[in-house]
């Protein structure tokens, strides 16, 4: 099977020659369609930079990113923003819902941005809303929703245009453990049912235990990889293994902010 995302020796440096930060220093990996991949690492290790490169929000200095076999650097203008809106869905730590739009309007925003008639999205919307259990808050403003509801509305927005891959930067970072668990379960369900790949940055070992595979990044390079043995290994066991690696990383989760 063709990988949906192929990253080849990606490099991104910040600052001038002297005292510059090597945020990404040659990263290579692949994501298969429908894969649930986690990325872990201490603060400042380059996780967000990596995600931003994939989301085409920032331009890497060298290396290549291939989406469905097509190079990101070849995309320009409208094609690029089309890519940002349709090929990928983005989940943020702080949800990034527009506070003056209702839940429904927030979810439909990508369609409005890409000039897709709203009628076409009606069915999809209903299906997502019922799956994510947000029907009651569709006509409320974000300020009137709970944190968990907000993130699920954000998830519906990220998924409305059937993206092939979902990028999530610490999606559970602003949620309590109960809501975090609920979100991860929904994400996992969507990943399995819709066959959408998920690429999730997290420092929450619990959230990470939902992944099939985890990459550990340090100083801009991948230094370790964990794979969950499905179906023999339970999520609990995988969680224990993650904790062990984190401990080896030095200082345990205490230094991972």
């Amino acid at each position: 099977m063709e990988p949906i995302l192929k990253i080849e020796s990606l490099k991104k440096y910040y600052g001038k020659t002297k005292g510059r930060t090597k945020a990404l220093n040659g990263i290579t990996f692949q994501v298969m369609p429908g894969e649930f991949l986690g990325i872990m690492g201490s603060s400042g290790s380059g996780k967000s930079t990596l995600l931003n490169c994939i989301a085409a929000v920032i331009r890497p200095d060298s290396g290549s990113i291939l989406i469905k076999g097509k190079s990101l650097s070849s995309l320009k203008g409208a094609a690029l923003s089309d890519y940002r809106g349709k090929e990928i869905g983005y989940l943020f730590q702080n949800f990034e819902l527009l506070d003056n739009l209702t839940g429904l309007e927030n979810i439909l925003l990508p369609m409005s941005l890409h000039k897709i008639p709203e009628k076409e999205g009606k069915k999809r919307l209903n299906q997502l809303a019922s799956y994510l259990e947000i029907q009651e808050v569709l006509h409320k403003f974000p300020a009137q929703m709970s944190g968990g509801q907000r993130q699920r509305v954000a998830a519906a927005r990220a998924l409305i245009l059937h993206p092939g891959i979902i990028l999530a930067d610490e999606p559970t970072g602003a949620l309590d453990s109960k809501n975090a668990k609920a979100l991860m379960e929904k994400l996992l369900g969507l990943n399995q049912e819709e066959h959408a790949a998920v690429l999730m940055v997290t420092h929450d070992s619990n959230a990470a235990s939902y992944c099939k595979r985890i990459l550990f990044i340090q100083d801009g390079v991948i230094f370790h990889e964990l794979r969950r043995n499905i179906p023999e290994e339970s999520r609990q066991d995988f969680y224990e293994r993650i904790l062990k690696v984190m401990a080896q990383l030095g200082g345990g989760s205490a230094n991972v902010l």
Binding site: S81, L101, L109, S112, L113, F141, A143
Partner: protein, 683 residues
């Protein structure tokens, strides 16, 4: 170090916020222009002949100065607030780093002082130049080119400008700096979106919209129909109704936006987002928007009405007589003029005579007004009838005018002559102060050729009411006179009458220069002849005075209103954009291109400016019409449709200015959005 920071920040503010800096410049210029009015060429010229009126106008200048002070305070306050809002984060950092609050306060004040000094230094030369330009242009427009141009620079005006500017600026920045330096560090560091306002059920807004429209309709109806101008109490009621109506409408407008959000063309990019943004500002800032709309309305009305009145006075200048010589007769005048070689200047010289009834001792009751009064009493009751009844009851000792003299006057004006038989008379009333309605009433009675008596002899009144000016000086008017055939005139006056010699200038005398300069030139020569005369100059001066005063002040006010309203709207928009930058950033993250964002912001700007402007333009059409009802004499009111067209043209011209403003704000917004395209580092 502290000082360096002040200098650098002050400079950066000017660079980053042209809107802010230019509003400071505008303030300086506005102050100076109004204060230098007494030094304007036209005013200097007019004060020689219309000293009373000019004097009165000049005493109004402090009032205008005060008003400017008040209005500019708003302008500066808003512009500075925007300026400071943009830098909230920076101030938070200063405080975090341990800067004392009092020191931050001083820093802000000092920065402000820097830019104030600079705007004065830059603005004053511009202001002097501008007022000079206005002086030259107005002088040219009214044709007083021969009079020496006087440099209008006035040191006193400059001092007062500086004083006013600093007063306004200091008050605004004291208020704002105090506010900023008192705030929590946390609230400075993070952009906190204002909490959502609670919304009422939509029927409340429907009622508000309807009530607003009702109020406005009532207000305009009262003003146009004329009730408002009869008593200060009605005027107050009209104003209150107008204000209430405007605020009600703006308060209810959110409903319309809600409708657009639900209906509208959803397939357009960011449709919902745009209207939610507009709705939000309508909800939060309906008061400011309503106020701005009122300011624009005031500007449009001032400008529209002012220019129309100016045009009217210009056109209404049709006159026949240029000179009237007194204490003499025609042949003497002719001889004297010939002696000074001035006779070629005149195309016509003729006598005008007026006298009173001398055939009886009882002069006070020589004319029997009872038949006229009786006819009037039998007519339907009206205000005009009552006034006329009152006026005519004093007409029992009328002035008499010989028919031949009056016909000369009519001939000179190019009108057909009057025919009277012995025993007949025509009624003369100076029509300037007599309302058209009254003349029409009297004409209806005269159609029946009523029979009255003069000193006991039967007299039939015929023809229409006459009203041509008898002499040049328009301040000399006859409220009621009878035109008699020449023999009758000589009989009743017993040969005792006043003679005036009217003169009309040659066409070629006035062809090359303006009438104004021709008359002032001839006046100089006439002064040497010893003749006593009145020239049309006085009337012209009065007309010129009304022309310049009305247009100068209305245009001045219009410009100030317009600048303030637009700056406030523009600043409001940019400020709310600044506050909601996070939303735009999110849009970028979910795939919005720069062009899409700009388009969206531009659409919002259109609505943002459009709502108050369209509202004001619509209102101004009624407003100008109402002003005409209030300020125009009845004679001028007959040119109403013509004047309305002039006003409409002027209002459209101002809409162009509005467009320029919108373009500037769009640019500023585009620039602001461009900054978003580079992803912000999340800490």
């Amino acid at each position: 170090m502290f000082f360096k920071l002040i200098l650098r920040n002050s400079k950066r503010s000017r660079k980053e916020n042209g809107l802010f800096f230019s509003s400071l410049l505008v303030a300086v210029m506005a102050f100076y222009v109004i204060l230098s009015l007494p030094r304007q060429d036209v005013m200097v010229f007019l004060s020689q002949m219309e000293s009373d009126a000019v004097e009165k106008l000049l005493t109004l200048i402090p009032a205008f100065y005060g008003m400017t002070l008040f209005l500019l305070f708003f302008l500066i306050y808003y512009a500075s607030r925007f300026q400071l809002e943009r830098r909230r984060h920076e101030f938070g950092v200063y405080l975090m780093l341990g800067m004392r609050r009092s020191r931050l306060f001083v820093l802000l004040l000092a920065e402000d002082f820097g830019s104030s000094i600079l705007s004065l230094a830059l603005g004053l030369p511009f202001a002097v130049l501008l007022s000079e330009l206005i002086s030259l242009i107005t002088a040219r427009l009214v044709g007083i080119g021969i009079i020496e141009h006087q440099f209008s620079f006035s040191f006193r005006a400059m001092l007062w400008t500086a004083a006013g500017f600093f007063l306004v600026k200091c008050t605004a920045s004291l208020l704002l700096s105090g506010n900023i330096s008192r705030q929590e560090i946390g609230s400075l560091l993070t952009e906190i979106p204002e909490g959502a306002k609670r919304q009422m059920p939509s029927c409340v807004y429907v009622v508000s919209l309807l009530a607003g429209m009702l109020c406005l309709t009532a207000a305009y109806a009262m003003a146009i129909h004329g009730e408002s101008w009869t008593h200060i109490r009605f005027m107050g009621l009209t104003v209150v109704l107008g204000l209430l109506g405007t605020f009600f409408v703006f308060w209810g407008l959110r409903l319309l936006m809600g409708f657009f959000i639900r209906k509208g063309n959803h397939d357009r990019r960011l449709h919902t987002f745009d209207f939610r943004q507009i709705q939000e500002t309508l909800i939060r800032r309906f008061g400011t928007l309503a106020l701005c709309s009122l300011l624009i309305l005031a500007a449009l009305c001032c400008f529209g009405a002012g220019t129309a009145v100016f045009r009217y006075y210009e056109n209404a200048a049709s006159h026949v007589l240029d000179y009237t010589f007194t204490d003499t007769n025609a042949s003497d005048v002719r001889r004297t003029l010939a002696a000074y070689r001035l006779d070629t200047m005149f195309q016509d010289l003729f006598e005008m005579k007026t006298g009173r009834v001398r055939t009886t001792e009882d002069t006070e009751h020589a004319f029997d007004t009872e038949p006229l009064l009786a006819a009037l009493r039998s007519m339907d009751s009206s205000r005009d009838r009552d006034v006329l009844l009152n006026n005519l009851s004093y007409a029992s000792s009328p002035y008499l005018i010989p028919l031949s003299c009056y016909n000369r006057l009519l001939a000179a004006a190019g009108q057909s002559e009057l025919v009277l038989h012995p025993g007949e008379a025509a009624v003369y009333m100076n029509q300037e102060d007599t309302a058209q309605g009254r003349v029409q009433l009297l004409n209806r009675i005269l159609e029946t050729e009523p029979l009255t008596s003069l000193d006991g002899d039967a007299l039939r009144l015929t023809g229409k009411v006459q009203g041509a000016d008898l002499v040049t000086d328009r301040s000399i008017t006859l409220s009621f006179a009878l035109i008699l055939p020449d023999e009758d005139f000589v009989y009743y006056t017993q040969g005792e009458y006043d003679i005036f010699v009217n003169g009309i200038l040659n066409n070629h005398t006035t062809k090359h220069t303006s009438l104004l300069s021709a008359i002032s030139e001839i006046n100089e020569k006439l002064d040497e002849t010893g003749l006593s005369y009145e020239s049309y100059l006085q009337n012209m001066g009065r007309q010129l005075f009304f022309q310049t005063a009305s247009s100068y002040l209305t245009i001045y006010l219009a410009v100030i209103f317009l600048i303030i309203a637009n700056t406030v709207i523009g600043v409001q928009f940019l400020m709310s954009q600044q506050k909601t930058l996070r939303r735009y950033r999110t849009l970028v993250r979910i795939g919005a291109e720069y062009e899409v964002l700009c388009k969206s912001a531009r659409r919002q700007i259109h609505w943002y400016f459009g709502i108050p402007t369209v509202f004001a333009v619509f209102g101004s059409l009624f407003g100008v019409r109402a002003l005409f009802t209030g300020i125009l004499t009845s004679a001028a009111r007959s040119h109403l449709s013509e004047m309305m067209i002039v006003s409409a043209a002027m209002i459209s011209a101002l809409c162009m200015v509005e467009y320029l403003y919108i373009t500037a704000v769009k640019r500023s917004s585009d620039r602001c959005l461009l900054g978003l395209m580079i992803p912000k580092r999340e800490e």
